[in-house]
Amino acid sequence: MGMTMAEKILAMHSGKEEVRPGEIVMARLDFMLGNDVTAPLAIKKFRELSDKVFDRERIAIVLDHFTPNKDIKSAEQCKFSREFAREQGIKWFFEGGNVGVEHCLLPELGLVLPGDLIIGADSHTCTYGALGAFATGVGSTDLAVAMATGEAWFRVPETVKFVYSGELQPWVTGKDLILHTIGDIGVNGALYKAMEFSGEVVEGLSMAERMTMSNMAIEAGAKTGLIEPDGKTLAYVKERAQRGFTPVKSDEDAVYSKVVEYDVSELEPIVAFPHLPENTVPVSKASKMDIKIDQVFIGSCTNGRYEDLKMAAEVLEGQKVAEWVRLIVIPCSRNVYFRAMKEGLLEVFHEAGAVIGPPTCGPCLGGHMGILASGERAVSTSNRNFVGRMGHPESEVYLANPYVAAASAVLGRIASPEEVVK
């Protein structure tokens, strides 16, 4: 009986020939990460266990959430993390001009690779599933123990396979595939499980769009969201990889707890309404509801990559943002920022009337740089639209792809890109 990718990676890392869903394994980790919110707690717990990290080259500390430091308390958290990184000689410490949103930065730098087993003290660690890594979010205590021992325990998850077929309509992206999926199965539709995204449509997506899909596996409750490494994956990692890696694919006879098939030929861009990512509405319907907006955010670990900014620029080229809308664009890393600058995307945003921010998670989690007041509405390319996610508990967040976000900024209401680009 074969194994799924998730099972194979867990078996490989726990010294077993095979593992089965439900089994609990202690496994060796390839990489781990924490940020300015989660690392300080992890460091305090780590001190109780050890005075030296297990391997200074397999840990990343990324100060990306409330940076550039938004207040004194945040600055203290960063200082505490920085001192630890220096003391331990952590090789992959990022702040200031080197920082990027962690889940954009680490793939871009070749620190997370196919076949890896990775934990991160951040729920969107599942993003690296797009590279074929078993990557999952944990809390600070799990990170603390892992920094001391290089290991973590896992319950082997059942895998649900999602197969996407058909040909995508214009303006439909990886973001819409994952929102459609969450809308179908619900925010706990894959609770405790691994998702595996496959099929001709996924094969046709860019690495950036694949990362968008895997990134939101957690929004269906999943432990991770995997995509089999193919030629695109290998081309992406080949020029970046900082160490060796072993790509893993699911066996032909792997056992899935469920296989879900979608023909997405008729799929439209999707908007997820407040206050859950499962509240999905096709853009043709949402755009007729005259939902006035106050802010648009284009960025985050979900949709802040170069390809996402290019989508937004395609709609914003030669356009102006509605006068009552604040458009905030945040390239997710220094490389993305620089490329967007060189290739003229920042100019398009500037001309349209956007504010362009430094790489940070910032507004996505209501941290800083774009907090909403009571009664305000935002369209965001990020991943969560929970109550109070981006600010006041009486504000509202609508999730969408970069095309829809850009079109909405121009028209000042939730809009379809077709209404702007004729």
Binding site: I24, V37, T38, P40, L41, K44, K45, E48, L49, H65, F66, K70, D71, K73, S74, Q77, G120, A121, D122, S123, T125, G137, V138, G139, S140, T141, D142, A144, V145, A148, T149, W153, R155, V187, N188, L191, Y192, I218, G221, K223, L276, L365, G366, G367, I371, R384, F386, V387, G388, R389, P393
Partner: protein
């Protein structure tokens, strides 16, 4: 080990953003976090919760972020236990890792109402509703998870494992 307290009942998908909003994540001090626990879901909770009280909720409790600040805030507010139909997986791990008792008990959640006086026996998983005169049973934990709980959390478990 037993706990006793009043029930505070909520619905499905109580997420970590309403348990402790990101605007308070610039600290990890438990007493600071407890001051804001559940603020965006039930602004009265933090003022009225008593020592030993229990949160009772539907499916997918603790969904969203990996912030361990969420179970820390709940524990520091004096809550003795969270009973839910199901937990989001990172919250589940975090609660066990930091020693906040959690119980999966769908039937109990159906029956319990806010204000009911509850008594929980963690060794047997028995939940007694003293107000209604009913008894429910929670799902047992896997043996490995039980070892972490009995050690007093993951750090203590690891110390034991490493022979420290």
């Amino acid at each position: 080990m037993k706990a006793r307290g009043r029930a505070w009942k909520y619905g499905d998908h109580v997420d970590t953003d309403v348990i402790i909003p990101a605007r308070y994540l610039n600290t990890s001090d438990p007493s600071e976090l407890a001051k804001h626990v559940l603020e965006d879901l039930d602004p009265e909770f933090r003022f009225r919760v008593g020592p030993g009280d229990m949160i009772v909720a539907g499916e997918n409790f603790g969904s969203g972020s990996s912030r361990e600040h969420a179970p820390i805030a709940i524990k520091a507010a004096g809550v003795s236990c969270v009973i839910a139909k199901s937990f989001a997986r990172i919250f589940y791990r975090n609660a066990i890792n930091i020693g906040l008792p959690i119980l999966e008990a769908p039937e109990a959640v159906e029956r319990i109402e806010t204000g009911d006086e509850l008594e929980v026996d963690f060794s047997t998983g028995e939940i007694r509703n003293l107000t209604k005169g009913e008894t429910y049973r929670a799902e047992p934990f896997p043996e490995f998870v039980m070892e972490i709980i009995e050690s007093g959390g993951l750090v203590e478990y690891t110390k034991r494992r490493l022979g420290k």
